[in-house]
Symmetry: D3
Subunit: 327 residues, 6 copies
């Protein structure tokens, strides 16, 4: 892949204002109401120990209440025999993937952290090893995929449910006896990074945010800049549903990582790849520059596409955490 | 495209039995219950005249009760000023498309028929000019698209709702004062052809079935024969959800055009294209050879892909209808 | 598709002058001679009623004299039983398609207009339902397709013949007893839009021009901006025939929609799609801004590729016509 | 590329009869009349010495009469200062290419042969360095490319003109003072191989035929076996012009290399590549096995696609010629 | 992907003999000499503890002697604080990848095994997180990639070095104080699976072999069956180096997994995916059916391509090991 | 292909300085040492007459000493019977190709020049008719292909060996009795053009340089501008080997055509194609503008991709040589 986005100096300075991103006047109220509603319906998370044959970690199949009180699944992985209170990493997955298998999630528990890996409702069947969480809410005409489900009304959009799940996953983590609720860090790559930014803007008391090559940032720019999916789901929808654009972007604005970032204060480690057509670097810089917290860092991978730092990111995150939320 | 399916003589003789197609013992009971449930919830269709500027036809925006009593939209197009009772064509659309615009549906009314074009719930945003019917039912993890929504339980599968809509669209047509309920013909291409076959097997008293290059036939063979979408949605799902295959094909069997065909007796005009990787000709011959009615004909397009007969099919259908259900 | 052409404000102002487009000093003389020559050879159009089984329209197979007196085929579709004089829509087709079947052309007659759909000589075998008009003139070495046939001499270029046919199609329409020759509107999409612009610049007394996502505009810019066919036919030719470029663009200039537009005064409704790599929006704005008439409007489809407004365009055109050339 | 055609032993035995290939009863009469007509119109070839800066060869720009007396261009290349009479190689080009430049044709003259490289009328602008021969005959609706021009009547088909040119190129060679008319060999690859087979079946007194990976053999099988162009031009045409197939294949039969081969007796060296999707090996074996001459050899390239033997073929041909028509 | 290989019953019975696979008479001698030579040059492995920040495992950077005494790198991962003797898993990587980072290799140590992950010499720069082992041996003309380096002589072929490395990695593991040398299992996927089979046939005293979707099996069939890389490297080489085929396949035969399997007796767990074009299932069945050991099992993934069982394979392997080589 | 690089006026002025290209302070010393070392090891070239059956030329199979004294193969082609001293053309090949066959190299000998065509070590198996020169030096982890072999140290990089071979090929030519060592011209296209520029900067006493669409120029810009191979090999390597970029570009700088050009004074004829994604025109202008000689010319092909002038280049070069180094 060749370079295609802004030159480096313009990237670093790229900071579109709330108007350009389309921030809604009632953004905070919308989310306050949404989260309060979900928390009203929430019940205590349930968990079951699952045998994996592994000795270094203990794995649990967790079910917690997400949006609408809907059951959301997750894997909780703990250092074997840990009693806590442990610092904790809550992780979200990339688009189309599910929580997979407990044996896929060893890194953070090996490093001494509790780790909760949230399933993405209704996803989990495009790649990887599967998911277990339905999305019990139907929707109007939509482009295949989740990006445009309920796109004409922020209350009905799929991302309202998914981002609410992401916030309530933090609540669920806090309900675990081994977890130290004051030392929770959210993380994820791509869609998982977008959800980490959403949690950063919406969840209280986070100790850190690690959002890799985040998706769901500055939708309005992304759809003009790249023809890669999944941002193209939005273009596909609008190409068929001519005239829906104003309403669609009004809806998406409530879920934009840039707007969430403007409200987020926990320490941030994010990343962007300069040849990433899936999540173009300028959309990530828009979020990074808007991020309200002052302890923030962006890692730039100049030669990579959407794989970004790949396996190099985890040890880098571990070192970054060691100075802020050590295990 | 080169030839890729069976040679012609084997195609003509290709007639897999119920076991090969996976016909369920309770197929008829499943559908009797399903349709009875939907009809119990059904209300009288509503319709509104829509101004199109056209003089030769009158167009109505129809809302009728589909599966679960859910509102399903359709366009009713009548010869201008017609009072009826008219022979009537009920049409279903291809995968991903919506009912579009009333001005797109002129042929049958121009020929003297009433014409009801059903919207496909939750579709309508992949190509064309849009749809207006939501699918208010959520679902478990699924491959993008509709083929695998609810695939682990026939009661929850998307096609149960869509095929029920197709049958109730016939009911809705019969509720129109201009329609002669004894002279209703169902039609459609690709997914629309699959729905026409479903209606052929499930709706009472049809006067004809015109199913072009029908999709949704002999799922089990199709997924081994072609790597084209949308059949590949099923492969994608099963590649991630390892071990779900038995349950998935048990579910899909209730919606298989071959099984519907085995119960259908109205005169049939169908078609297949020998270079069609989307709906391979052998899957269509499986349905054609299983079709219970004796007045049946298959048009073969030896040089075409999924476009089949294209614009040549409508006049051919009109001539075929002229001998059976003349306007 | 991502955005790739000029930003909106620059698009709106994009108005290359005659020199940039390469307008020939003898453009008007070339065409006056060309049309006079063709009209000298023209004979009275012939027509035959064709049975279609449709009741709302009457269809005729028309043969009229095009360039060189060559027979050109068309479908004439009238509201059933109409005697006229009727306002009339003359339509041209997209590249590679033929006139197809009479049953494909119902919209305008349903709206109360006479409708003449011209076949494109020598085309008609790339997609759709076929054409019936040969191009009896041979040519020198050429890239596959029609764009470079006779490219070294404007007198021999294929477009001279095709655009002359387009003008004489208006003459042929005027020769029909049901047609009101003072209320003729030309239309088409893509190549059809380019031909509509050609007719707009060359035919006398048109009542309107509806040119959708027109092809054949500002060749010189198009070949540098897009790598999509059919503009790439020209690049392919020039890549082999090194050194022919000056002569080639001198030839193409006589057929450029921008130059035709500069001479056209009938009311214009055109359109462009911002993600259209086949007919890039700036090439269309070049024609729109050059258009001499003052009653002109351009519809912009910001999310679409070459499909532009799709089925939404016909009702929009009908509404636009209702204020100018009502049926 | 994987293997896709018949296994080797079946390839070697593959010998479809005249009926399978569709040989016309009047094949010989058709060609006798065609060639006689062209020869009646033929005038003496003209040639002009062209300066190339090369010392080892003398190059001439030749114009000879092809089909219809139309001027056809060629390059004649002679060993510098040769007076002859020389054995001579007449060569035809691949599809879409032209005669290019005289400096591209050195091999045979370097080996001591006279060499005439024929331009392909109307081609020469798809790849390579250009052509100079127009095809002054127009045609009916056709798929882009030459394969379907005039496909409904063998008298009007493009290949009638091109294959006639190929035969008259031999006549033209014989008219050169340096050429020994009893020692003429025809050659070419792909389309050029097809033309060499045509000349082998139609021209008198050839001393040899070297047809590499020949195109234009057993059309009927090729269109079912491969989806590669240019055979797909025929499929594209038939997919649009539904119902033309019988007439189309009747036309193509007059130009089929298998039928020409059945009448050819000069020594033959041909080749096929087992992974060649453009000219599948079984279509070539069909011609090879039908070839009437008994001094015949086929070189098989088991690992190659349409490039076949590439640069290895020329020295092999030279060695083969050395035993039959030495310089 | 559609099904493309043999039907299931023929797959299960597919057992080409040594002649079909091209087994060399001196196969065993070749390898005895090769391994003896390498072991003669071998020195004691060196290792350095690397800090990873992980608490559950101890990681070491290992350098051992491979072919020619060349230094080969590996990661050794142990359960934290383990002293052993531990059962041990030696793993090889897929084609183009390197050993990556120590933090990527946690599973087996978490399960209580010692784990040695070997770097692939000269690879490691096509995907993933890098490698650290040069291949200090040059080579003759070769297709890009490693498959054809030294293809004209088995002594010089790249795979001789790589497979020797694989065997000596087992020696290196045995030299580790924490490793129980009688309980070593080799594993890997794709190329890693091919190397595991090589080790199975060449290394003494293995306790198990887990070879996932193995590459390097039945080269002769693979190159005819699939056009996917890396098997296509061989076709590409042979298409250019015409005439090298006999020598090339004689060379490759020494490294064929089928031949190694015929000499392997340790318990085997392998897998194949029916839609895997990279390593077609019949090539794997050829090895599986030839495998000399009687405790052997093949897992078939009917819906997957080359990803095979993905993350599901590790727990399945762990369960399989629990019955044979428990931790 | 569309235009993608700088506009023409900016191209013409594009002249990045040594810092931008990364010229090393010890560039000249590096090369002085390298060449001296190679020349120390060099032995007298050997040659064998090869029978080709051609009469106009005499062909020799040459083996000369390249980098490290390694044997490098070449074809020497002379006008038949020539005794010299002749002006001489030394030619290098494009990436992936080998020296092929002697019968492929006739042009320059036909024009009266001696011609030495150098094989590219370790290449020759990607396309064409093969090569015969091994590269006996191994390397560290590398992207497939040669561009990144030894990329961390200029002493070990593949291009050090290949460019040294290119210089010593001139020495070898001078050792031929028929060659006039004062009238040697180097040439080649793509990689061959890059090698010609390297020879231009490193070999003494050249009489001319003809570098067509040269590769290996301004690496740093190329990798940001194009996503085509082979420049993408470098991006692929860096995407995996994160953090190697400074070292990698420091290595590549020693082999950059721009830096070689800055030291070259022989008359230059080069070329660039404006639609060439493989060797973007700005990278070539960077070398052209840096070229130290004042007799320099660049031919621009505005409509071509990497084929550039194709067969038109040889006669143009011949005419250019006629004024400088006539035969």
């Amino acid at each position: 892949m060749a370079l295609f986005d802004l030159p480096t100096d313009q990237l670093q300075a790229y900071a579109p204002g709330p108007d350009e991103v389309g921030e809604a006047p009632d953004h905070d109220e919308f989310w306050a109401t949404t989260l309060a509603g979900a928390r009203d319906l929430a019940t205590v998370p349930e968990r079951t120990r699952v045998p994996t044959g592994l000795r270094a970690v203990d794995s649990y199949d967790v079910t917690f209440s997400g949006f609408g009180g809907h059951p959301v699944r997750a894997w909780l992985t703990l250092p074997a025999g840990a009693e806590g209170p442990l610092p904790t990493v809550v992780q979200y997955n990339g688009y189309g993937g599910g929580r997979g298998l407990p044996t896929e999630h060893l890194f953070w528990a090996n490093a001494g952290y509790a780790h909760l890996f949230m399933d993405s409702r209704g996803q989990g069947s495009s790649w990887g090893n599967g998911g277990d969480t339905p999305d019990p809410v139907g929707h109007g005409p939509a482009s295949p995929g989740q990006m445009t489900r309920g796109i004409l009304d922020p209350h009905e959009h799929y991302l309202r449910r998914l981002q609410t799940d992401a916030v309530l996953a933090v609540d669920a983590a806090r309900a675990m006896p081994e977890v130290d609720g004051t030392r929770i860090v959210v993380t994820g790559g791509s869609q998982g990074g977008g959800l980490a930014l959403a949690a950063a803007g919406l969840a209280e008391g986070l100790a850190g945010v690690m959002a890799d090559v985040p998706f769901l940032c500055h939708f309005r720019r992304a759809v003009d800049l790249t023809d890669a999916f999944p941002y193209q789901e939005i273009v596909q929808y609008l190409s068929v549903n001519r005239g829906h654009e104003e309403q669609a972007f009004r809806t998406l604005a409530y879920f934009d990582g840039v707007t969430h970032a403007r409200r987020a204060t926990a320490p941030l480690l994010t990343s962007a790849a300069l040849r990433d057509m899936v999540c173009p670097p300028s959309t990530i810089y828009a979020a990074f520059n808007a991020y309200a917290g002052t302890d923030k860092e962006i890692v730039v991978w100049p030669w990579n596409g959407h794989e970004g730092g790949g396996g190099h990111m985890a040890p880098r995150q571990l070192a970054w955490l060691a100075e802020r939320v050590p295990a």
